[in-house]
């Protein structure tokens, strides 16, 4: 399929600038990656609302927390690996436990970071962040959801983590489509199997659904952009309608979307669940396309999983 491609990180910075222009009391922090996360663009427009913390993510999270105690909404950005890994305890102690209004918006999540290799390709950020009590975790599917999510984050009270890709992402939603934190959306309605995906894997799920149709299999495609709190009613309704579920994510199969979906299904309406994701291994250098292929994150992998799930269906 031919997709229109656009970079969520560009949209992130653009939305921050709009919010500040609209008079929102936001502050943006970065840790020497502002040209990559695009927050430098915000810093150029609103220098008094932007602080570069240097290569010091732990302090950045603490400063963000301190700013937030005074009523400001703080956006803290860096690469996902440093945001959630390097500064995990700062997020836990200084942001999540006191439930402060810090929005961690990290770019370069997952293996599509590409050439920088395993040191920079975090595949466990969703696991780390969803495990924190009270942390909202968002993984937008494209630029439109990125914009809407940033706007909702600015209005929402409490801590949140949002992961974005380095790469441009296929635009799969409509600019005017409704968006709400905590709500997934059905992009294709099918009867035989439900493919529940997040982030870059949603477009691949749509491709897989198209190909499954050729084989006479009717597949739903569900976009889950809020990993936590997860849309339980939507997942349960899919399980009830199709009776077979596939999850797909650019994340370790352990502790990500697949685990969240499987836990809802096993508790509320048990049906087979097959997970497409990175099979508990670190990545390596390569082009994003090569990496997605090698680590099992393609439409073809989703199709295989869908057929497996169908076979397991009773």
């Amino acid at each position: 399929m031919k997709w229109e491609m656009a970079a969520p990180r560009d949209k992130y910075a653009e939305t921050l600038i709009s919010l500040a222009k609209e008079g929102k009391d936001i502050v943006v922090l970065d840790a020497d990656l502002s040209s990559s996360t695009r927050t430098a663009r915000f810093g150029k427009e609103f220098p008094e609302r932007f602080f570069n913390a240097g290569i010091a993510e732990q302090n950045m999270m603490g400063v963000a927390a301190g700013l937030a105690t005074t009523g400001k909404t703080v956006f803290a950005s860096t690469f996902a690996v440093f945001a959630t890994g390097r500064a995990y305890d700062q997020i836990r102690q200084s942001v999540a436990h006191p439930r402060l209004n810090v929005k961690i918006v990290a770019t370069h999540a997952g293996i599509t970071v590409g050439g920088d290799g395993a040191s920079h390709q975090i595949i466990e950020d969703i696991a780390l962040m969803t495990a924190l009590p009270g942390m909202t975790v968002i993984s937008p599917v494209d630029i439109h959801e990125t914009e809407k999510a940033v706007r909702e984050l600015a209005d929402m009270d409490g801590p949140a983590y949002m992961r974005l890709s380095r790469s441009a992402m296929p635009v799969v939603t409509d600019e005017n489509a409704p968006f709400e934190i905590g709500k997934g959306s059905v992009l294709r309605k099918g009867d035989d199997v439900s493919i529940i995906a997040t982030g870059i894997m949603v477009s691949r799920a749509i491709e897989a659904a198209e190909e499954l149709k050729e084989k006479g299999i009717s597949a739903s495609v569900v976009n889950i952009s809020t990993i936590k709190p997860i849309d339980r009613p939507l997942i349960v309704s899919e399980a009830k309608r199709t009776g077979a579920v596939v999850t797909a994510e650019e994340h370790n199969v352990i502790g990500g979307l697949g685990y969240a979906v499987a836990s809802v299904i096993s508790e509320e309406y048990p049906v087979p669940v097959k997970m497409v994701g990175i099979e508990d291994t670190f990545g390596e250098s390569g082009s994003p396309g090569e990496l997605l292929e090698k680590y099992g994150l393609t439409a073809a992998h989703i199709m295989v999983a869908a057929e497996d799930a169908l076979r397991m269906k009773r």
């Binding site: 502050v27 008094e48 609302r49 602080f51 913390a53 240097g54 010091a56 732990q58 302090n59 950045m60 999270m61 603490g62 400063v63 963000a64 927390a65 301190g66 700013l67 937030a68 105690t69 005074t70 009523g71 400001k72 703080v74 305890d89 700062q90 836990r92 102690q93 200084s94 436990h97 006191p98 439930r99």
Partner: protein, 283 residues
């Protein structure tokens, strides 16, 4: 120029004495806690809460208040004593320290305790938060000050030095930090466990204005704060030489009282030494 009277000094000293009684009694009642580092920071905290800081115990979230961050969060009993004696909550609440369902957590928690400006406990993090509060004050053109207390063991954490660089880089001058230099950490003397000397030189090299004082001498504490507030374009570190366990003879300079409650006999002796009776049973 002295901006306080001898009467003020006597008042603060008396408050510090009451706080020491509170600290000993609440930790004894809880059966666990950190007396040593609470007692070493008591005179500084008493000076802040009972004379220096602009705050409203009846309106804990007053936006214009001065802020206080106990970066060495294990000294929570000292902060709780100051808050209770200031009127943020009843003094009797101190006896529910560390008890399930009550507001006084083992380490400060801003969501459960009125008057606690920042949750701390994992060492090395409070200074960063204090800097964030100070930046916000500057952005909002508010004239509040932010005070923080760090431990001399705590500064072994790398984040402290990230924060030190940041504060100097952004010329954060509405922040005054204290280093409670009591010389002891859990595993022994700080110089033996992880020597951080020369301390003053380090902070100066990081771009801070440094003042050294006796952290139990109230006029020195007040003078240092006055000097610190007058320093512009630089953060200030007041290195306070203190005695761990100060005010209870058998706890002074004894590393074992870092994180241990007194037993029955020790408790009775400590209360006798302080000479103010007990909470609920005043002398």
């Amino acid at each position: 120029m002295k901006n306080y009277t001898d009467e003020t000094v006597r008042m603060i000293a008396e408050k510090a004495r009451i706080m020491r009684r509170d600290i000993v009694q609440m930790i004894y009642t809880a059966g666990s806690g950190h007396p040593g580092g609470s007692l070493s920071a008591t005179d500084i905290i008493a000076s802040l809460y009972f004379h220096v800081m602009r705050h409203r115990p009846q309106e804990p979230n007053w936006p214009d208040r001065d802020r206080f961050v106990l970066s060495k969060g294990h000294a929570a009993p000292a902060l709780y004593a100051a808050l209770a004696e200031s009127g943020y909550f009843p003094v009797e609440e101190l006896l529910n320290l560390r008890k399930i369902g009550h507001m006084l957590q083992g380490h400060p928690s801003m969501k459960t305790t009125p008057g606690v400006d920042m949750s701390t406990g994992s060492l090395g993090q409070g200074l960063s938060a204090a800097i964030g509060m100070a930046l916000a004050g500057r952005m909002d053109r508010k004239d509040y000050m932010v005070y923080a207390i760090l431990g001399d063991g705590e500064i072994e954490e790398g984040q402290i030095w990230e924060a030190a660089m940041f504060a100097a880089h952004y010329k954060v001058d509405n922040l005054v930090a204290f280093l409670d230099k009591n010389g002891l950490q859990i595993d022994g003397p700080t110089d033996a466990v992880m020597c951080s000397e020369p301390l003053a030189d380090k902070w100066i090299a990081f771009g801070w204005h440094v003042i050294e004082i006796d952290g139990h001498d109230i006029p020195q504490i007040l003078d240092a704060i006055a000097e610190a507030k007058a320093i512009k374009e630089k953060p200030v570190m007041i290195i306070a030489h203190t005695v761990k366990g100060k005010g209870v003879s058998f706890m002074e300079n004894v590393v074992g009282f870092h994180g241990k409650a007194p037993n029955d006999e020790q408790y009775r002796q400590a209360i006798r030494e302080i000479g103010l009776g007990e909470i609920g049973v005043m002398k």
